[in-house]
């Protein structure tokens, strides 16, 4: 048995090593045809080609290739701006042609009839049409300069060059297409050597644990582990996860070699090549499945844990991973039926709404489903079962926390101070999510981007970067080995905040304390991933009713005296302490 485990660990390390190695081992060659295909617009492609020396040249690292690519985009933009921008000399000429009042027709004389001249005239009419017939006073020169600079800022990079968003998207797709080397030559082989080898190794390491002794709580040596108690292994794992998320959200173009490996899987499911979020979904699902098996083996004496783990494994695999890809294959909108606003913060974004509304009956159903889920589903289900029906049975973030994150659940901070921070932070994020969404919907209906002097597009991109990517991803998962597996769910998730408010004030759910049996040992508090000091209540004979409780049931599982039980019962007496076993003294609340 031990040899199988050691072998499994070795396989995992080999697979992981190849995975890390492949990040660095591609070469990149940009060709004209790749550019034309990815850029789409022939004019822009030729402008790029004219301004770069990359074509046909082989780059041996992603870092050098991507920095050359970024430079070429900038150079192209600069050259397009000087070509199509209105120069100071042209402004002088316009001014000298006009005396008294400004006649817009005069610009045609200045710009001429060439392709560039026509473009400039049209652009000037678009941005400076309002100047026509205007008296030429001291401010006039200022106005005309403003027109010229607005055209540079908002129009030319868009029409003739590469704005921020298209450059970001192109960096990824061009880099992926330009990749050469072993991975690009045989993605299937590397899919096997990395993911499949890791999965086999992980199972060889995990499954023999069935023979480690009779079923029961096995938390032995957790606090001596370099991995599970913020030792060197935990810090290294955390660092890797943080780096992975930073690349994934902010610099996906560097991980194209990894994306190429999962191309075959993506082709099989949706018929399209993989993007970086497909890679993420694939790793995410595999993690939940493999570590879900570990969870089931570890808690095999508890049917509650087994059913709950199977549930998160199912919802991730079917609802979050496979069904959306099949929808794409069927030319339907990508949709995760179990994801819910405000966790799914872009549900009401204009592009998402347009996609659903324009996708016929199914799209409208999805829209209605998504709204009903948080409007009706949350209050009804939380009333009957507590927020656990979502957070620890259905949710994807919860699913990862309960499987991949289970080894780190003891690292959550139980102090009252942490609880205070938690309440401020999570409710602030909820307010932010609601305000951001209200702004987005306002803009959708009024077609005005500005609400109360703030640009709603800016608000939503701040939310996306800081909350959606930074908090939920980088901190939420990257900090598993450092701060516990529910950092995001506890401190940041706006949906958890909303579910929690319902759970605290209107629900039948509670953790019942079994009379006076508590011995204050602290296992419950230690293993509470949400950092609830469960013992504080249990030792006073009091039930535990807390908005943050996700109902994972581990406090009940680790309790050596049978003190804690998750129950849905009458709301009456939910907060009460019933009995402490002492007839001489009754409990004061």
């Amino acid at each position: 048995m031990k040899i199988i485990k050691t072998l499994g660990l070795a396989l995992f390390i080999i697979g992981f090593g190849i995975f890390i190695g492949s990040f660095f081992t591609a070469n990149y060659t940009l060709t004209e045809s790749i550019l034309q295909e990815k850029v789409g617009t022939p004019d822009k492609a030729s402008a790029f080609i004219a301004n770069t020396n990359m074509i046909g040249k082989e780059y041996s690292s992603n870092f050098s290739f991507i920095s050359a690519l970024a430079e070429s985009f900038e150079k192209t933009n600069r050259s397009q701006l000087s070509k199509y921008g209105i120069s100071d000399e042209e402004i002088q000429n316009i001014l000298s042609l006009n005396q008294g009042t400004f006649a817009i027709a005069t610009i045609d004389q200045v710009f001429g009839n060439s392709e560039r001249g026509q473009y400039k005239s049209a652009a000037f009419r678009e941005y400076g049409g309002w100047l026509d017939g205007r008296e030429i006073d001291d401010s006039f020169k200022k106005y005309i300069n403003k027109v010229a600079s607005d055209i540079k800022k908002y129009k030319i990079t868009n029409d003739k060059g590469f704005d921020k968003y298209s450059a970001k998207a192109l960096k990824f797709s061009v880099t992926k297409a330009a990749s050469g080397g072993p991975v690009a030559a045989s993605p299937g082989l590397f899919l096997f050597l990395t993911f499949i080898v890791c999965i086999i190794g992980a199972f060889m390491y995990i499954v023999p644990k069935i023979n480690d002794g009779p079923p029961g709580i096995k938390n032995n040596n957790i606090f001596f582990s370099a991995m599970k108690n913020v030792g060197w292994l935990g810090i290294m794992t955390g660092t890797f996860l943080i780096a992975f998320y930073v690349f994934l959200y902010f610099f996906p173009e560097y991980m194209t070699n990894w994306v190429i490996m999962v191309d075959p899987v993506s082709m099989m499911l949706s018929g399209n090549g993989a993007g970086h979020f497909f890679l993420y979904g694939f790793i995410y699902t595999v993690s939940i499945l493999v570590m879900g098996v570990r969870m089931i083996i570890k808690y095999r004496h508890s049917k509650y844990q087994i059913f709950r783990t199977i549930s998160v494994m199912f919802f991730q695999t079917a609802f979050a991973f496979i069904i959306p890809e099949i929808l794409i294959r069927l030319n339907q909108p990508y949709f995760d039926f179990k994801n819910m606003w405000p966790l799914d913060y872009d549900f009401f974004f204009d592009n998402e709404l347009d996609t659903l509304i324009n996708s016929g009956g199914l799209g409208i159903f999805m829209l209605g489903w998504g709204i009903a889920l948080f409007l009706i589903g949350v209050p009804v289900f939380v009333y009957f079962f507590g927020k656990r029906w979502y957070c620890s049975w259905v949710c994807g973030c919860g699913g990862l926390a309960e499987t991949l994150g289970d080894p780190y659940r003891q690292l959550s901070d139980k102090s009252v101070k942490a609880w205070k921070i938690e309440r401020y932070l999570i409710h602030a994020v909820l307010v932010f999510a609601v305000v951001m969404t209200a702004g987005v919907l306002y803009s959708y209906w009024t077609e005005s981007d500005v609400l109360l002097g703030v640009n709603t597009k800016d608000v939503r991109s701040v939310y996306g970067a800081w909350i959606g990517a930074g908090f939920a991803g980088v901190i939420g998962t990257g900090f598993y080995p450092l701060m516990g597996n529910r950092t995001w769910c506890r401190f940041g998730c706006p949906l958890a905040a909303y579910l929690g408010i319902v759970q605290r004030f209107k629900s039948r759910f509670r953790i019942t304390t079994n009379g006076g049996q508590c011995i204050s040992c602290g296992n419950c508090s230690t293993y509470c991933e949400m950092g609830i000091d469960v013992r504080w209540y249990a030792q006073r004979g009091q039930n535990i009713v807390r908005s943050s409780c996700v109902g994972c049931g581990v406090c009940s599982a680790v309790c050596p005296r049978g003190v804690l039980n998750l129950e849905n019962k009458d709301e009456d007496g939910r907060f009460q302490a019933l009995l402490i076993g002492n007839d001489g003294v009754s409990i004061q609340k």
């Binding site: 938390n219 032995n220 582990s225 049917k303 079994n514 049996q517 204050s520 602290g522 076993g581 001489g584």
Partner: protein, 443 residues
């Protein structure tokens, strides 16, 4: 303003302090030489096993004491003079009190075995014991545990997590058979063996042998066998930690003798917890009960008496719990190791031999007297009610579902138990609960 001084920062002393603070503004000082802060003694094993850090065993954060104006003083009290109401510490310091609570806990029993004071021989009660065990069990080849009780089995579990082979000497024919009836003791004995403990039943310790450096080398048993080992766990129970007060003038039998208000023979001096011996224990209870819950309840009681509401110590019905490796145990009411003349029993055990329930009831009236449950959790509140309402065994068996405290989806055994009961009592059967569809599919 009264100065209430409490010696001992365990569950009895700390509960007293907390409840005094709830009810009054008295000055409170808690003295301990063991640790700076209150921790859960029952959780010491989990620190050794790596389930928790010492920090995790502290039920209150360190700021709690200052905020609640409970002064903590570290030190060992050497002597008490009751007339001048003065404590003397080992370092010569002195402290005056208006009211004194002695909550000094227990010490491990030693029965005069040859070699019992050798290096590497130790019981497990205090934080210092844990530190000792930590340093003396590094890289050893075998440990021997003496005494088949709760601390002994915990020690076995602890050592096994460090892959140290354990030999366990038990005087009785079954593990903990002086407390548990035969069936339950058999079930636990089998489970202990399943964990590869080298269990030697009907075996006592004769001698502990020393190596050249005064460290334990081996153990000689009553059967004459010599077992080489580098650590010996002495766990034949505990006794009140009162030796340092023997000559101070306070009345001591085995523990500090106290009346029903927990007051000793000295004015304004009270006793609570393990060290307290009740002159007239409540019906069905023993004079000394060294369990967590008793310490807590005595503390809750003293919290009232010391603040002006004189309150008798009235524990409710006896209850207790423990965990033997993977099998949880709870008991409510009275179940003795041997049935008394007026008692009858009904016993059920699961097929895999890992769960069982023992009901004890009165032969003539059929009134329920107590329950032992292993591997199944039961609701304290419901059992408290049933025992106080003097329900019959039939009522209890029929309504067993009401008392179940197992987590959701766990296999329910009440129907099986009811069927077995009816087989044994064909004249007076109970209604068998019908299993729901979900239950049938998933269990």
């Amino acid at each position: 303003m009264d100065h209430i001084v409490i010696i001992g920062n365990g569950i009895a002393g700390i509960t007293t302090a907390r409840h005094v603070r709830k009810n009054s503004n008295s000055k409170i000082t808690v003295i301990s030489g063991e640790t700076d802060h209150f921790f859960s003694r029952t959780a010491l094993m989990y620190i050794y096993m790596g389930h928790m850090k010492f920090e995790n065993t502290k039920p209150y954060e360190d700021w709690f004491w200052k905020k609640n104006r409970i002064d903590l003083k570290k030190g060992w009290v050497k002597n008490i003079s009751y007339d001048s109401k003065e404590l003397e510490f080992e370092n010569g310091e002195k402290l005056n009190y208006d009211k004194l609570v002695l909550a000094t806990g227990s010490v491990s029993n030693k029965f005069g075995w040859p070699g019992q004071d050798l290096e590497g021989v130790r019981g497990l009660y205090s934080y210092q014991d844990l530190e000792y065990m930590e340093s003396y069990t590094k890289n050893i080849e075998r440990a021997v545990i003496i005494g088949g009780g709760l601390i002994g089995i915990e020690m076995a579990e602890m050592l096994l997590t460090r892959n140290i082979p354990v030999t366990f000497l038990v005087r009785e024919g079954l593990f903990w058979n002086n407390v548990l009836p035969k069936e339950e003791a058999t079930l636990i004995t089998n489970h202990v063996k399943e964990h590869h403990v080298d269990l030697k039943l009907n075996t006592e310790l004769k001698e502990i042998k020393s190596d050249a450096n005064g460290r334990v080398k081996s153990v000689i048993t009553s059967t004459g066998e010599e077992i080489p080992c580098q650590f010996v766990g002495l766990t034949p129970g505990v006794r009140p930690n009162v030796d340092f007060l023997r000559d101070s003038g306070i009345e001591i039998n085995r523990g500090l003798v106290a009346d029903e208000y927990l007051q000793t023979n000295k004015p304004d001096v009270y006793a609570a917890g393990d060290c307290c011996e009740l002159k007239t224990p409540p019906a069905g209870r023993r004079p000394i009960e060294a369990v967590w819950y008793v310490g807590r309840m005595m503390g809750e009681t003293l919290g009232r008496t010391l603040t002006g509401t004189k309150t008798k110590y009235q524990p409710g019905l006896w209850f207790n719990s423990a965990k033997f490796f993977d099998i949880e145990y709870q008991t409510y009411g009275t179940v003795l190791s041997k049935l008394r003349d007026h008692e009858n029993q009904f016993y059920w055990e699961s097929e895999d031999g890992k769960k069982c329930v023992k009901f004890v009831f009165d032969k003539s009236s059929n009134t329920i007297l107590g329950v032992n449950n292993f591997g199944i959790r039961m609701r304290h509140e419901v059992w408290d009610k049933w025992l106080k309402e003097k329900r019959t065994i039939n009522y209890v068996i029929e309504n067993l579902d009401e008392a179940n405290f197992d987590p959701e989806f766990f296999k329910k055994h009440d129907s099986e138990i009811q069927e077995k009961f009816n087989k044994e009592n064909p004249k007076n059967p109970v209604k068998v609960r019908q299993r729901g569809l979900f239950e049938k599919i998933f269990s």
